[in-house]
């Protein structure tokens, strides 16, 4: 080995690291995800101030108290509280580019659902727009939020800003 080779730092060292994990979504998320599999949207109510979390993760992240009690079933329609226009393809979303990524406040919920907007031009999407879920055919359902293919405009009058400004 020449002197220059000896001084050359080792820059590549192959150490394959493989660790297998067995996950559980946990009690709250499992209930939420299984409800998707039945075409239902389940939230939970904070015992302190009654806010409805969708999804609930077992505790109120505001008050730090466990969320117990009956889940709250929510309708699959709501209001766009904010959005952005996406021009980057994603293998999980079968909408044509560009499309709007939206945050939907479901009627009766106090937290926001992330989803995408279909059957609408990006020129039309706006805050306050009323939308409803378009579900995949039932035989394609899984325990997943992706059972909803996208939301589409309902044509109802916009929700006034004051009614959702606390939820942005």
């Amino acid at each position: 080995m020449s002197e220059s080779e000896e001084r050359k730092p080792v820059e590549v060292l192959r150490t394959p690291v493989v660790l297998d994990y067995t996950y559980s979504a946990g009690q709250s998320s499992s209930r939420h995800l299984r409800a998707f599999g039945k075409g239902k949207l389940l939230g939970q109510r904070c015992p302190v101030d009654g806010r409805v979390y969708f999804p609930s993760r077992g505790s109120c992240p505001q008050h730090g108290v466990p969320i117990e009690g009956e889940p709250v079933e929510l309708p699959d329609r709501g209001t766009i509280v904010t959005y952005s226009v996406n021009r980057v393809p994603s293998e999980n979303i079968d909408l044509e580019l560009p499309y709007a990524a939206i945050q939907v406040l479901l009627d009766g919920a106090d937290t926001i659902l992330f989803h995408v907007l279909g059957e609408s031009s990006i020129d039309d999407v706006h805050m306050g727009m009323r939308v409803e879920a378009v579900w995949k055919p039932e035989e394609e359902w899984d325990d997943s939020v992706a059972n909803i293919r996208y939301f589409r405009p309902t044509g109802e009058p916009d929700t006034p800003f004051d009614q959702y400004k606390e939820h942005i």
């Binding site: 660790l19 994990y21 996950y23 009690q27 505790s59 992240p61 466990p66």
Partner: protein, 351 residues
């Protein structure tokens, strides 16, 4: 120095594998119970510090979801260590010393059942020269045990006696996992697991969590009838290369114990975090514990070893002995890393 005391402690029952709840859901009732027990709301707590490991959770920033358990809106002053909760306690104690907080909530949590713990722990070792060989954690501890046995530092019988002692005492601990009456001779008749270690020499793998509230001065006196005052707190680390260290003793525990002034007065109770029986012996010696000391009344790490919480739990268990008056002075120990690489010593007093 400000007087700081442990005023509340809560823990989840350790279990081998919690299949139903995720890490945060294990933590939620523990945090809820400690706040309710102390009569505190999140807004009454000046600082929050946690200990957990993304490697156990198998995802980055896994500890952030733990914040849901404490209620972090409006935002709270918070920090996290990728270490046992005992080190989170150290950070919180320093925070209170600086005068930036009077009360702190500290917690540790882990769900090692999600992965293969013995392999995960191999990633603590030198990534260039050791990790490519994947020495599992039990084998690394077995190398240390072999050194101790061949060097005449301790015997297999002494190791079995630790298991019998801890798991016997653990019977009265409702949060413990592996407890019962065992016989030294019967244990020694068992085959080795990873030679020279037998099953009883190894702590169980436990999913669990624990939480603690500490407070300064009068705030501590408001919150507890007999606060467990932290009179000494120190942590010391040894190098990563196992070949550089003397594995037949725990020098870092000795130094930490000296600085925490363990030997200044009589110790009534000791809670030692020994993941393996021979390590418990090395730590007990390094702490200089006398014959009269009640060691591991909780059953210690051999009865339940919720990784990332087990060290904090030792300090919590020692504090309980101060609160109930059964001890005036206690020492608790936490460890981290292979073969007792890093050690924390905490001295608690009732006055």
């Amino acid at each position: 120095m400000r007087d700081v005391a442990v005023v509340a402690f809560t823990q989840a029952k350790s279990v081998r594998a919690e299949r139903d709840l995720n890490e945060t859901e294990i933590l939620i009732p523990v945090i809820h119970d400690i706040k309710r027990g102390a009569g505190l709301e999140t807004k009454d707590i000046d600082f929050v510090c946690s200990g957990s490991s993304d490697y156990l959770a198998g995802q980055s920033f896994a500890f952030v979801s733990g914040l849901d358990a404490i209620g972090a809106w409006p935002p709270v002053s918070e920090s996290h260590v990728e270490m046992d909760g005992a080190w989170a306690l150290y950070e919180a104690w320093v925070k209170i010393q600086t005068g930036h907080a009077d009360t702190a909530l500290v917690y540790g949590f882990g769900k090692p059942s999600m992965g293969d713990l013995s392999r995960t722990l191999a990633l603590q070792l030198d990534p260039y020269c050791v990790v490519p060989l994947w020495p599992d954690a039990v084998s690394v501890a077995a190398l240390q045990a072999r050194l101790c046995l061949e060097g005449g530092v301790l015997s297999e019988r002494e190791m079995a006696e630790v298991a019998v002692r801890d798991r016997g005492k653990g019977k009265s601990n409702p949060y413990a996992q592996v407890t019962g009456d065992f016989d030294v001779d019967a244990l020694l008749a068992e085959p080795t697991f990873v030679s020279p270690l037998r099953r009883h020499d190894c702590s169980p793998i436990s999913d669990g969590a624990s939480a603690m509230i500490i407070a300064a001065g009068d705030r501590a006196r408001d919150l507890a009838e007999r606060p467990a005052w932290i009179r000494g707190l120190e942590h010391i680390v040894e190098p990563q290369d196992l070949g550089i260290r003397d594995l037949t003793t725990s020098r870092s525990t000795q130094i930490a114990a000296d600085r925490a002034a363990v030997g200044k007065d009589k110790i009534d109770v000791a809670e030692v975090c020994g993941p393996f029986t021979h390590q418990s012996i090395l730590v007990e010696r390094a702490l200089g514990l006398g014959e009269s000391v009640d060691v591991n009344p909780s059953g210690g790490a051999l009865s339940a070893h919720p990784l990332m919480a087990a060290g904090l739990t030792r300090i919590g268990e020692a504090s309980k002995r101060i609160w109930d008056g059964s001890a005036d002075r206690a020492v608790a120990h936490a460890t981290s890393g292979p073969c007792l690489q890093q050690n924390l010593v905490c001295v608690l007093e009732g006055a």
